[in-house]
Amino acid sequence: MNRIGAMASKLRVPALSIFVALFIGALFIIFTDVEVLGRLLSDPIGALGLGVGRAATAYSALLRGAFGDPETIGKALASGGDVQLWARALRPIVESVVASVPLIFVGLGVSVAFRTGIFNIGGAGQYTMGAVGGTLAALIFGGGVTPAPIAIILVMIFGLIGGALWAFIPGFLKARVGASEVITTIMLNFIAAQFVFFLVSNVEFIQKPPRIQPVSKELSQFVDLPGILPIESLRLDIGIIVALLTAVAVSWFLFRSTRGFELRTAGLNIAAAKYAGMGAASSIITAMLISGAISGLGGALVAVGTVKQLSPGIAGSVGFTAIAIALVGGTRPSGVVATALVFGLLQHGGSLMQVTTSIPIEMLLFIQALVIAFIAAPELTLGIVKNPFVRRSKSVTK
């Protein structure tokens, strides 16, 4: 089999989806611009020109925000080793990667559940409870109580446990009484956020003094995750390394282990799994535990390392974006990592776009939603791109 060819055909739909979504996004930028609309009737050509210009400005801001400004990069190159200039040049791309770290974790987490045929929508809640676990570990063991490496390991373990416990509840309910995981996990997302709100507004041990805002203490005072770049002001820490290792581990688990074989069988054909004597209930619980643990690990590392604070909104839109990422990435660890990086680029690029043009960051959510819609309807996506170029042979009717 031609592996490169097979790879290319797998990437075709996702790549086209992103491309078409960006194109439609551009049309929206053009036709929602008040100035363009105002001139559309009196001076259609000028208006369109203006609109295309606006879209170009927006997308170039998006690209600069995602990858970096060529000019700044040029200056950094010219300067040789000027740390300040290099930090400025690399910050956009580094921040894009930082934005992708939680997406990788939760994307991998929900992928394990999806592979088992469980629609775990609870990534956000499991991520949040992982963040709670990580925060507690940092507050208890950090700040010199235990040596720094041990504190970091405990942060990760508490994160794993927090997420796993939160996923165990819906897993157990589904396996034992058949409760729909879609409903239970969504509800547990809300409970997790409210639980954090309770912790950071009522518990003195956790809440940031002088206890006015509902946020935790600054966690960087307790545990500091080591950065991995030589420039200190760039905040990329070991979280990304753990994320990539997790991807490798998930891939190995799913495709090499007997347990992974059982989970994949259950996901593809539950009747055949029963026929083969695999325990369906234990598959569900195992998958949910692993799924929640991975999301929880991400929550702990991001709360302690990147955000450095626990707050009720810690998960943001990570839960739902991660579902999209899992589906776009074909629930394959490599696909999830690649898609999460693309979404990270879009997210960080979008924030610069919002600053430099007046286009709101919601535009990016719109584009993300379009990407998902196109991936969900591959025929449509291929149709849109194919039709203008390829003429279908007309039926011969005489």
Partner: protein, 502 residues
């Protein structure tokens, strides 16, 4: 009306489903369309009913060319389809079912005019000799009567060309005979009938002319007067076919499976198997006949651990069956070829190798310390693929891309890869081509000859009669009779299948 299809060609990615097919059927004529699964029958009918559009070729009705953009246009043109799987709403009554989509209405709000509808249905069923109670609920009707409702539906829509897709698959021999009467009556009153089947005897019995399809093309046209079952089979397969399974006399030894007063409930909690008692011995094949849905599925599921046994006892080689655990039953020496291979027997989206180890992956030969031993799995699968003549580009091919026959060979290879004392095969050849049927039958008989006990469940009477050393018949959950092969004539078994115990 006269229907002609000329030069119909339909290409799907990688498959030429229909290759310049031409068929015609005249007013008052019955055309038997014969072909194996995958010969292109269904594609052709989907083109005729407006679901697909042909790449080339023409459809003519009474000489005028027609194109159908959707099924509604085909119905308007007078083409009525009776599908293999009925499209009926269980809680509707017969009248409602027949007029659904074309209801007579009354009043300014267009409310349903039940009285008129009922009168129309009664008149229609009287005219065509299709006896049904217009007020009976669909769910209370036996399959044969539901089929009549489907035919009435087509006639109500003024179909003058009636297409019946594998209509006898769900009927007893006697019900099939009644269906043939109906078809003959319809033809007499001027309807053109296309009767699709893979059963040779049926086309000979009911058709006026026969068209045989093979691999998407017309293999030949003939008439029942000129054709024999053997000549049709040869046309259908493209080579000479042995219609009977050759096998030696069975050397029956000790009992392997003893089922005593076993009762099993279905999903709804109703009694599906009612105190079944039988024995299968080493070296014999016990074939269970019966119309689909008379408890055979539940019987097999109970014996293979997929469904709890409600009462009664089952022993395997004198030890109690480890009921409820498919894995323990398999380890005890039971091979299970499941009734629905798509649902239970294989995992589409997984490779042939993964399907081959589906229920043995946990054994030390294929995994160590929770890790799959890919080398051992590949080696074993390569050997099985060769031994069982599975046609596939590689063992890493998705099993979904294989033909039904090759998929079934993978399943049989997997089940026979263990030490087998009892074979439980449910519908082992459903939907397979003749070549694969021969092959699978031969393999099953081999198991018998090497001393295994074999329990075959089939709704195909031909298969039951060809393979069974003894024939048991199930009707409404009960074993209504067990006959020796020499006493198991088509008529006797057929009567038992209809619940008539002589």
């Amino acid at each position: 009306m006269k229907l002609e299809l000329q030069g119909i060609t339909k290409q799907f990615p990688g498959v030429l489903a229909n290759d310049r097919i031409s068929i015609s059927v005249d007013k008052g004529q019955v055309l038997g369309l014969l072909g194996e699964n995958g010969a292109g029958k269904t594609t052709l009918m989907n083109i005729l009913s407006g679901l697909y559009r042909p790449d080339s070729g023409t459809i003519r009705i009474d000489g005028t060319e027609r194109t159908f953009r959707d099924p509604a246009q085909a119905i308007d043109a007078g083409i009525g389809m009776v599908h293999q799987h009925f499209m009926l709403v269980p809680v509707f009554d017969v009248t409602e079912s027949v007029v659904l989509g074309n209801e007579p209405t009354k009043g300014p709000l267009g409310s349903f005019d039940r009285a008129t509808a009922r009168a129309q249905v009664v008149e229609l069923s009287k005219k065509h000799g299709l006896h049904v109670d217009p007020d009976a609920k669909i769910e209370s009707l036996p399959v044969g009567v539901r089929q009549r409702v489907e035919i009435l539906k087509a006639l109500y829509r003024k179909s003058e060309i009636l297409v019946l897709d594998e209509p006898s698959a769900v009927l007893t021999p006697q019900e099939t005979e009644e269906l043939f009467e109906i078809i003959r009556g319809l033809a007499k009153s001027g309807t053109a009938v296309i009767f699709i089947t893979h059963k040779l005897n049926e086309v000979i019995a009911v058709a006026d002319k026969i068209t045989v399809l093979r691999r998407g093309a017309v293999a030949g046209d003939t008439t029942p007067a000129k054709a024999t079952a053997a000549s049709l089979a040869e046309m259908m397969v493209g080579r000479e076919v042995q219609l009977t399974v050759s096998r030696s006399k069975s050397k029956v030894l000790e009992p392997i499976l003893e089922v005593n007063e076993m009762s099993v409930l279905n999903d709804a909690g109703d009694l599906a198997v009612d105190r079944a008692t039988f024995v299968v011995r080493s070296g014999e094949i016990l074939a269970v006949a019966g119309v689909q849905g008379n408890g055979q599925t539940e019987l097999v599921e109970a014996l293979t651990g997929l469904r709890p046994i409600d009462s009664g006892s089952v022993t395997l080689e004198s030890k109690p069956l480890p009921a409820g655990s498919p894995r323990d039953i398999a380890s005890a020496g039971v091979a299970h070829i499941p009734e629905d291979r798509n649902r239970d027997g294989m995992v589409k989206g997984m490779t042939i190798a993964e399907n081959y180890i589906l229920n043995t992956y946990h054994l030390p030969q294929y995994s160590k310390r929770g890790l799959l031993d890919r080398k051992a799995i590949s080696a074993a699968t390569e050997k099985a693929v060769k031994d069982f003549d599975v046609r596939t580009p590689s063992i890493d091919t998705d099993i979904a891309s294989l033909s039904g026959g090759n998929q079934q060979k993978v399943i049989v290879a997997r089940e026979f890869s263990r030490n087998v004392r009892l074979v439980i095969a449910a519908q082992p050849t459903r939907g397979l081509d003749v070549g694969s049927i021969e092959y699978i039958h031969r393999r099953i008989v081999e198991q018998r000859d090497s001393g295994a006990a074999v329990l075959i469940v089939s709704t195909e009477l031909d298969e039951v009669l060809a393979l069974g050393d003894r024939v048991a018949v199930m009707y409404e959950g009960r074993i209504v009779g067990i006959l020796d092969a020499k006493d198991a004539t088509r008529e006797r078994v057929g009567l038992l299948m209809g619940g008539i115990v002589a």
